[in-house]
């Protein structure tokens, strides 16, 4: 077992439960069932067969499926075998109609991504809302701006928080658009949609709440690259406020609502939520690089690049989702200390148009 020890700390629990082995198996099965139903709806297989497939309860223990995957190279092969066994020899040929393993893997991954993505979006929204609340509350609270690590001129804490909010909102908007467009993949063995009317694909998309891509994209992975990129950008917009909070907590200008203690120094007030948000977010850029490199797959089904996507995408969702979740905790109820902020200001009081920029930023927030 892995994940139980570190997921809570890195904020990944919510996302991870939607991406774990059980979720994968559920998604794979959901795709096979929906595919049978769509195929039946368009006369490719008998409706009674689709019903039998939907009603089947194959034994799909993830660990057993994992072991059985080794031979053929993916879990769809033993899953289809188990499903065929469960429905009996009459219905068996109607299982997995017109599809190939990649169709089911890619479509299941789109489902999982959507499930996990909901949590990510929610936490990004929560973090942005918390930043917005801080921005509004401290619209006029003066603090020193720091550039290149040095005291510069005054700004307001509200403007700092407004910048956090703007980044989080922007990243969430893009991610939400991509998540809403997660497509089914159906192409069959060679990607030629052989033996399946295009209407089946449209029907399947509707059934699963996914988008209809128009044509198979098994070997055209720009959608995966885009999703990876959007998650990477989102992680970056989480890292930035976390970094600022750690730095400001270091000089006492903010503190977390529930700072952590230490195994050796009980007096410490560690901004643990920010620290772990950073820890999670820093994992994203390398994972994005892996997924971008994986776009370069040969022919009609990449011999390795495709496989590299599976766990990397899940890791990236956990990293970004975790960063968002921890940042939300960090910013919700963040304690701001205007008196400490005032100390480095000296007599230089003007905060320029900072309050006005706060207003403008908050007014421009995207709708919920």
């Amino acid at each position: 077992m892995r994940g139980a020890l570190f997921d809570p700390l890195f904020g990944a629990s919510g996302v991870a439960s939607r991406l774990d082995d059980a979720a994968w198996v559920a998604a794979l099965l959901a795709v096979e069932v929906a595919l049978a139903q769509s195929a039946a709806a368009h006369g490719v297989i008998p409706a009674t067969h689709a019903a039998a497939i939907a009603a089947a309860s194959p034994d799909l223990d993830p660990a057993a499926l994992g072991l059985a995957s080794v031979e053929g190279g993916n879990p769809v092969i033993p899953l289809v075998r188990a499903l065929r066994a469960a429905v009996g020899p009459q219905v068996a040929p109607s299982v997995h109609p017109g599809a190939t393993s990649q169709d089911v893997m890619d479509t299941a991954a789109a489902l999982l991504t959507g499930w996990a993505g909901e949590v990510v979006l929610d936490d990004l929204r929560g973090a942005a809302d918390a930043a917005a609340a801080l921005a509004a509350a401290h619209r006029d609270t003066p603090m020193i701006a720091r550039t290149l690590g040095q005291h510069a001129l005054p700004t307001t804490f509200g403007l700092v928080a407004a910048g956090w909010c703007a980044g989080l909102d922007r990243a969430r908007t893009r991610l939400a658009a991509l998540l809403a467009a997660q497509p089914v993949q159906v192409g069959g063995p060679a990607g030629t949609l052989d033996g399946l009317p295009a209407a089946v694909v449209t029907d399947l998309a509707g059934r699963l709440g996914l988008a209809d891509p128009g044509v198979p994209w098994h070997a055209e992975r720009s959608r995966i690259g885009e999703l990876a990129a959007a998650l990477g950008v989102a992680a970056g917009t989480c890292a930035k406020p976390a970094t600022d909070v750690v730095a400001l907590a270091g000089v006492g200008e903010v503190s977390e609502a529930a700072p952590g203690d230490s195994s050796s120094m009980p007096h410490k007030r560690n901004p643990i939520a920010a620290v772990t948000a950073r820890g999670a977010a820093r994992r994203a850029p390398g994972l994005v690089a892996v997924l971008l490199a994986a776009m370069d797959g040969e022919h009609q089904r990449a011999a390795g690049a495709w496989h590299a996507e599976w766990e990397t995408r899940a890791d990236l969702l956990r990293a970004t989702g975790g960063a968002g979740a921890r940042l939300r905790v960090c910013l919700t109820g963040l304690q701001v200390h205007p008196d400490r902020m005032a100390e480095p200001l000296g007599a230089s009081a003007g905060v320029g148009r900072a309050p006005e920029l706060v207003d403008r930023t908050l007014a421009a927030r995207p709708p919920r």
Copy 2:
């Protein structure tokens, strides 16, 4: 000097000339001039001063500017000094009104990105058009699909090329949208827009053909991350066809219009354009990772993360642009050998809905 030896080979010449030292200096100066004009238009400085600034011919040798940058940490500081010297003591205070170095660097980088981006978009379009032409011409040309490196079932070469086209179009569309939205950055020393009416920013954006971001984004780098990501995805959509061409050339099913020879084996027919497109594209994922990681900058001006952007963004534009340029060469006039494609097909003739999928892909191409 660097770049002259390898840029042509990796397709970077067109992009690189818009990103070189001279281009940087031109962009920095253009920003200072336009900023003075915008400031004058809104009464911040006298109109005669703006005219003098626009008419000035400061000595801005890039190498000298480079050496003079070391002390202050960026080339804007000596450039402003030179510009002030050129306009004389009366006008000097009107140079760089209300701005800080980052404003000028970021805005100049946006300009440069737009200049270079034009070339990238043009080559991506050219490559996609070439792929589309191949798709149309070989809509019905049967070939074996290969999955996991093994012969699978028949498809058509047209469908393969249509997939290339779809990826390239998709990546270009996203990149074009981001390039069209490259924003000015104006915030002043602390990002509070102190001493400059917001209208100056809007005016400046119009003057430079850039977008008005509404609020300063000096410390909110999601736009940089998004651009990096889009370039990384575009590189991936260039790598894919290049990889396929190399593989298909290896079995004689395609050959480049002007294959390369060898220093030792004159009989070789190397698909050099595809090879170098791959070489360029493979550099992108790591560069994207650097730019995503650079989003995590502390406070109001990052002490290093910001600086890591400057050359990395240019390198990424060169890598992606180079990949696009070389792929365009590769695909334009690609020789297709249907007879060789027929060999592995045997009796298995049907190509499924491949031709229909070609039609659908080409019909869905975005407008020019």
Copy 3:
């Protein structure tokens, strides 16, 4: 639960079981026990206390520990609490003597790395041995060399396999040296080794089978970077043969001993071991980048960079270990088809010094 579904396929099962939640907890506890024993051996705490600590059976459910970690930011804090509770109030002050959380985390990670590293080394050795056997068996088997994807001149398959062997041996030698030098980390709260004689560190290292670093390295992470780099290089030396096998299997010159079938095409003979070795290996470069970037941590304990190491290092061990394990399967019993290799050779028969180079490579293999 995650890992059960994909670990077998990607060869990670052996490594993963030495890195999972239970292994972490066991390693953390082992460090606390050994630290108490070393402290007792040097009079820092009573020997009876160390004995009580060693005999304690605290309830250390990973999931509970995970949840309890959130507050303080790492699992050592609740583990120490549980251990103190288990030994009672008298002995409790002797638990975790002179140490801070990072000491225990870093030392436990070194232990885990060693445990997992054994498996990685064994599989790299197995893969190299299999390559060496192929090299010896096919020392003189002519095949066409392919450069830039095109037929070049003849070589022997033995020389190809010898090159695989050389890379794997080289990477393993370096990795073995680093694994043998995995150090304990003891520095206390500020890294000043306050309250602990240096001899305790030496004693602890001996007890745990780790190296004595001489001075604390809590904030000097070059060892982590080096380890990451060596794992990344090892993954690369696994990717290379896997890529060659996929390509050679595509033209029928080799085939795996147990090729996989397909969910839709029973005639397929997919080189699944090579494919999944590549899938695992491709994840390594991005993970290495994360760990190299994490070297840049601020002050005496990094607020995020350190935390990013924990799971990334484990992921990298799984990726590299998985690649090695799958490559070993791929190469062990790889079927070589000299007749197919002969086809593209035509009359050009000479294989140069290939056999001699095979001999030289095999003679230079490092000792077991």
Copy 4:
């Protein structure tokens, strides 16, 4: 032209001049000349031919060579053509004896790496020496240790600087070992050393001051991966002190000898050397990832992966070398402010074994 504007700022000037277009051409020519001489020494070509080749002055303008490289895919092809033209038809066949383009490119790259590496090592040594001097001078200067961004317990600034020194020394030692082992590559068209006695390779290595690899390594890129990794680790050991300096300068505990000013805030004292060291170092991890991924090249000469190495390795040398050069400037003459360091200490005075650990670290420094 590029590089003149930013190289000085990012410390890359020294390294870059050893890696630029002219250096590449010089290295390529040096390899061809030495190869002819080695071939002559072993009777492969006439000694008079080797002398003529050594005396030739072919016109090798990098820009012209760059344009002429496009057709064949690398600059060796036109360089060999120019060299043959320069020596006349009699001697021409003795040019490039038994070699292929990759032999010359790889060997030239090893030369360049050595040339540039000297500068990198020197700057790493200079930075480490400066850190050692600070460690010795401030062995007992108390300051607060900061963990997770918060004040922890006292340490000494000497111990902080000793940690910097240890990392820099360690990275330099490894890098020096790899640089000293940079090998020639000679294998001929198929890597079978056809037509060249092995003694030529040994002779060539001696002539060029490179190592004799024993067997060709054209397709076994672990050496490139190892070099990349060592450079990445070195960059990390530069980033760490730079990050600490920026942070400590932010609270006034240190300041650079020649801090930078600002285009808008003349009072600023920016730690520009540290800032730009960080800017350079942050580029390394992504570049390392590209080079590690490039190890995965197909067959006897990779169609793209190899090409991705060329400029990326140079970029990495510039990034790491630049970080070292700027860090050296930063640390040499760093101003330490014990009074400011004392402020956060309060009454808690003890610095544990910090001074002793400084002594131990300095005593363990590797020999020059």
